[in-house]
């Protein structure tokens, strides 16, 4: 069991509001090895983001087990958990507090977790994500989308976690900025031996970033593929084949269903 960094077994997530029940994730299982980058692909409503939120305790799990480094994850999460697992959110315009400077965004996790040498760590984190200390006292509205996402990455890194959950980290960015952020994420993984779990709707991004991936639809795991399977179009299910076709762009010859 210990050769898995993160292990998800039969994960179930149910949202209850009043009498309504939404079964967002229905028995999803996967294992992520240390240093691996694992992708989850699906369309909206597939539950792919909910899986990430459930891992870090933002969504209620109604069944299944989660293990980190072989040990069960306590619920509610302990503060120490967040030193090991951090997350980068989809929309860099929504994930930074509009009234906090980059300095307070980065110093707050250090203060909460009781880290020392804070000035040094903040400067280092800003350098690591390619921003430099000149950005330290700016407000989010003084940054572009790509710069904000770099700040979000710096915030996730500053607690020196082993696992980073990436929830569509580039879908709100322009194509050229997406390339920069993807390169940054790859470089950081290589430098620090990080483990990634990355969610995206874009098969090309996932195949670029991840060695293995899981296809999800309507809260269910459809199939697990390796990057090589994806490139060879070795999909066992119609749904994955459909996704692959759609991601190639518009084709006129296609006969409508």
């Amino acid at each position: 069991m210990n050769d898995h960094m993160l292990s998800v077994q039969n994960l179930e997530v149910t949202f209850v509001s009043g009498l309504d029940q939404v079964h967002a994730v229905r028995g999803v299982s996967f294992d992520v090895k240390p240093g691996e980058s694992y992708g989850i692909v699906g369309e909206s409503g597939s539950g792919k983001s909910t899986v990430l939120r459930a891992i870090c305790g933002l969504a209620p799990t109604s069944g299944g087990t989660l293990r980190l480094n072989g040990a069960g994850i306590a619920s509610p999460r302990r503060p120490e958990f967040y030193r090991q697992v951090q997350m980068v959110f989809q929309d860099p315009y929504a994930s930074l507090h509009p009234r906090h400077t980059i300095d307070s965004v980065l110093s707050e996790p250090l203060a909460i977790q009781g880290f020392d040498r804070r000035d040094e760590r903040i400067a280092q984190a800003l350098e690591d994500v390619g921003l430099g200390v000149g950005f330290r006292f700016r407000y989010p509205h003084q940054l572009s989308g790509g710069q904000r996402q770099r700040v979000a990455v710096a915030r996730a890194l500053i607690l020196e976690p082993q696992v980073i959950l990436l929830d569509e980290p580039t879908s709100a960015l322009d194509a050229s900025i997406q390339a920069e952020v993807l390169n940054l994420l790859e470089r950081l993984r290589a430098e620090r031996g990080l483990t990634y779990v990355m969610v995206s709707h874009d098969l090309a991004v996932i195949s670029h970033m991840c060695e293995r991936l899981l296809v999800m639809e309507h809260g269910l795991a459809v199939e697990e593929l390796t990057r090589e399977d994806l490139r060879a179009r070795r999909s066992k299910t119609d749904y994955t084949a459909k996704l692959l076709r759609a991601s190639a762009g518009y084709t006129k010859e296609d006969i409508p269903a």
């Binding site: 994930s95 507090h97 509009p98 400077t101 707050e108 909460i112 977790q113 006292f137 407000y139 003084q142």
Partner: protein
């Protein structure tokens, strides 16, 4: 001067202080371009200055007058520009001293009611569930009473006097702030930046205090400023009914009450404090509208 401006408007501040001051300067630039709001600010600043320097500005003693020589002098009399009342006291001096009471009421109500409303509203909104139910139903109960009547009941129970009037007004003033803070909190609490803060292991108290409250603050400030006029009127109303400031204190509402017995023959005795209340209420309203434009992005066109 232009270097200070450039330093303040810099897109790359070099220290925490520069970032904070720059932000404040930008808000001020937005506020400054609104003429009516600046007029409101001017009125409020004048009120504060009057209150601070009352002993130097007032030409006469506000509490005692000469019943033989200066009784009920009309406005524009030499030395008594706004006239005198039935006790022979200079109305201008009484208005100047009365600004201290008005300002004290406004400031104390703001200090008492705002934190209470914020605490109840943000807690209810952030925690939700039964905390929300209990706190908001309690708020609804307080809100269900007519404001002035509830204040009257409190003052009647506690005894008349300006201190009790302030407490009574504060007790009736917080529920709208709680509701507003709760509504704001509901929109904030599911945002990604709150989730990101949870992922750093932050406690609920920390999230509410450092992340939710600063975002509720601007709309609360706007609301409180706009309510100031109402608070002044309530305080004046209590004074008028004899339940607020007690004679011979120069409270504006009580002054109107004192003048109403001879309103026809000596109109200025009641009219002058009336104008003062009107001007100050207007000032706070204009200021509040201006603040809403710069602080509350939702109100922006």
């Amino acid at each position: 001067m232009s270097t200070t401006r450039a330093w303040l408007l810099s897109d790359a501040p070099l220290s925490r202080r520069q970032a904070k001051l720059g932000q404040a300067y930008r808000t001020w630039l937005g506020f400054r371009s609104n003429g009516l709001a600046m007029f409101g600010l001017l009125i409020v600043v004048v009120l504060v200055l009057l209150a601070l320097f009352a002993p130097w500005l007032a030409p006469h003693d506000p509490l005692t007058g000469d019943l033989n020589t200066t009784r009920l002098l009309p406005p524009l009399t030499e030395g008594y520009w706004l006239g005198t009342d039935d006790q022979g006291r200079d109305i201008l001096s009484r208005l100047i001293y009365g600004s201290r009471i008005t300002l004290a009421v406004v400031a104390l109500v703001a200090i008492l009611a705002t934190p209470l409303g914020l605490l109840i509203g943000t807690s209810a909104g952030y925690f939700g569930g039964w905390v929300d139910t209990v706190l908001m139903r309690f708020t609804d109960i307080v809100l269900a009473f007519p404001k002035l009547i509830l204040a009257l009941a409190f003052v009647a129970a506690l005894g008349p006097g300006i201190e009790n009037a302030i407490i009574a007004i504060a007790i009736t003033a917080w529920p709208p702030y709680a509701r507003l803070a709760r509504a704001e909190t509901l929109t904030i609490r599911n945002s990604d930046f709150i989730a990101a803060t949870k992922l750093q292991g932050a406690s609920s108290a920390r999230i509410i205090w450092k992340h939710v409250v600063p975002l509720c603050m601007s709309s609360i400030i706007v609301r409180v400023t706009l309510d100031m006029a109402g608070i002044i009127l309530t305080a004046a109303g209590l004074g008028f009914l004899g339940l607020g400031a007690q004679p011979p204190q120069p409270e504006w509402g009580a002054m109107i009450a004192g003048g109403r017995n001879f309103l026809i023959d000596y109109w200025w005795v009641a009219t002058m404090p009336g104008i003062a209340i009107f001007v100050v209420s207007l000032g706070f309203n204009l200021l509040g509208d201006g603040l809403r434009d710069v602080l509350d992005p939702k109100g922006q066109k």
